[in-house]
């Protein structure tokens, strides 16, 4: 009896998640169709997104025009870090980037409209202004990642391949959680949308350089407090056959999926708390 009850519970949770994803899908599809009216600006923004990340990488290559190694890492190694973190971030930005508009929605009152619909609010917020032009960022980072793979001369065992794929996917989930956390935070502080830039854009700026560059305290902070180190640093060091500067146990290189799950639980809980706070205070 207890088993069937918990089974029903699990089915309800799963059903809600599937429904939330489906709702996300059809709202995002509306945005794609809607943006079709502005094809020229789609092309421009695709290019702009491509170029904006390309400039970040241009700055890195300019650095390597002056030095052979940074923190003991060569250009292809740094490009590998750059590619993995930026592809992961790009995926999260594509799928959940507009969660940063929560504060604006609370201010202009449109949050109320979202609450009168039978669709999870998170799905509606995340699918808001879904724009395929954010693929430009993923494309650029993917090219850099591809280039680094051809230059690294690594032995591509099945384990390394699996680690690479899981790195990008788990990284996207972790960054996605940062977006949701940032959005949830705005239920309390509507004007604070810039705080999350420190963790999102600040995060990729951090992760595209080797951890040896940074102070140990900072590395500890992004490992144990804001677990961005699991996006690419720890698994990437394993792929590259490098030691991590903190001398952490080896199993932590494979902990990204578990960390990503924990992040989801935390982000989900804070999102619900934020929504509850909004519903009890209004704006």
């Amino acid at each position: 009896m207890a088993e069937t009850l918990s089974g029903a519970c699990a089915r309800a949770v799963l059903g809600r998640a599937v429904w939330g994803l489906r709702a996300y899908g059809f709202i995002a599809a509306m945005w794609i169709r809607s943006s079709w009216a502005y094809r020229a600006s789609f092309a421009i923004m695709l290019a702009a997104n491509f170029a904006s990340t390309a400039l970040d990488f241009a700055a890195i290559t300019l650095m390597f025009a002056q030095v052979d190694a940074l923190g003991g890492f060569t250009l292809p190694e740094v490009a590998f870090l750059y590619g993995t973190s930026c592809v992961a971030f790009g995926l999260a930005d594509l799928l959940l980037g507009t969660a940063e508009r929560v504060g604006r929605r609370v201010r202009d009152g449109t949050m109320d409209i979202l609450l009168t619909r039978p669709v999870p609010v998170l799905s509606q917020v995340a699918a808001d202004r879904f724009a395929l032009n954010r693929l430009g960022r993923i494309l650029q980072a993917g090219l850099v990642l591809g280039w680094s793979l051809t230059r690294l001369e690594l032995d591509w065992t099945a384990g390394r391949m699996a680690l690479l794929v899981s790195m990008v996917l788990c990284g996207a989930v972790i960054f996605g959680c940062v977006f949701v956390l940032g959005g949830a935070f705005q239920f309390w502080a509507q004007d604070a949308s810039e705080v999350q830039n420190a963790f999102t854009y600040g995060g990729i700026t951090l992760l595209q350089y080797p951890p040896t560059v940074f102070g140990k305290e900072l590395v500890r902070g992004v490992t144990f407090v804001v677990p961005l180190a699991f996006v690419n640093w720890l698994p990437a060091l394993r792929v590259l056959g490098r030691d991590d500067p903190l001398g952490l146990p080896g199993w932590m290189d494979f902990a990204a999926p578990a960390v990503a799950l924990l992040c989801c639980a935390g982000a989900g809980a804070l999102w619900r708390a934020g929504l509850r706070a909004y519903r009890s205070t209004g704006n």
């Binding site: 421009i44 923004m45 702009a48 300019l62 940074l70 004007d191 420190a198 600040g202 350089y209 900072l218």
Partner: protein
């Protein structure tokens, strides 16, 4: 005299408007500080490999990073400020109303932007700089005269940045979609101001060319004035900024003339 009072009032309203967003200011300071830390460490690694890169020693390089974070909002290195609002008024036609006001359009927006910058220089500049100075060994000048020159240089940087953004916004008279334009303007500003990497580190002829572009006047020059590292001294640096400010404001004036004639001909 009346005109001066009017522009002071406009500037004051720009200042107050940004001053009301306390939470947003605090959020911005936090983000600037985090970025400052990240960039400072990468610069440390770079200057560890190549001491005296770009003519800076290590603490000068770190000072460059924190100067960039301190000026980021005031000089609007990421674009924005009045630019979006002005562009929106061009797009929806409200600019026609502005043209009938007794005040000059360019001067009005300049006063407004200076008011905003004055607030953001204090509200968003001082705290990150202080945080950087607490943690890292910065090469900050002890002479008040240098600080005065730096403030002057920062003011000129704001004017040049304004003049550039004014030109970008005026393009809206011909191109209706702003998103691509503002993205492009941000990209150029980020890269050519020295925000990503000091322009003195850019190699060879490319580096020489980049240092003559107007964007150099928005961050590279003020930072060099503060560091006392501008080639030939600070005064040529200020002159460089002044020339670009005058040229770009004049270009804005010219473009505005052409654009408003277009509006009048079309009947708004």
């Amino acid at each position: 005299m009346h005109l001066l009072r009017l522009n002071l009032a406009v500037a004051a309203s720009g200042f107050r408007r940004y001053a009301t967003y306390r939470v947003a200011t605090a959020a911005g300071v936090f983000t600037n500080t985090v970025f400052g830390f990240i960039l400072a460490y990468t610069f440390l690694a770079l200057w560890h490999e190549r001491p005296h890169l770009g003519g800076y020693d290590q603490s000068q390089a770190l000072t460059f990073v924190w100067t960039g974070q301190a000026l980021l909002a005031a000089v609007a290195l990421l674009g924005g400020g009045f630019q979006d609002e002005f562009h929106e008024r061009i797009r929806n036609g409200d600019v026609a109303i502005d043209l009938y006001r007794p005040v000059d359009l360019q001067l009005w927006w300049l006063a407004h932007d200076l008011g905003r910058a004055a607030f953001q220089l204090v509200g968003r500049g001082v705290a990150p700089m202080a945080a950087g100075a607490l943690v890292f060994d910065l090469a900050l000048p002890s002479s008040p005269a240098v600080w005065l020159l730096f403030l002057l240089s920062a003011l000129l940087a704001i004017v040049v940045s304004f003049a550039l953004r004014y030109l970008w916004a005026l393009c809206g008279f011909w191109l209706l979609d702003a998103t691509g334009l503002s993205a492009l303007s941000t990209l150029m500003s980020l890269f050519f101001s020295g925000m990503l990497l000091p322009l003195t580190v850019f190699p060879g002829g490319f580096g020489d060319a980049v240092r003559w572009l107007p964007w150099a006047a928005t961050l590279q020059v003020p930072a060099d004035v503060l560091l006392g590292a501008h080639p030939g001294g600070s005064l040529p640096g200020l002159a460089f900024q002044l020339v670009w400010a005058v040229v770009l404001l004049a270009a804005g004036r010219l473009l505005q003339f052409v654009a408003t004639r277009k509006v009048v001909v079309q009947g708004g």
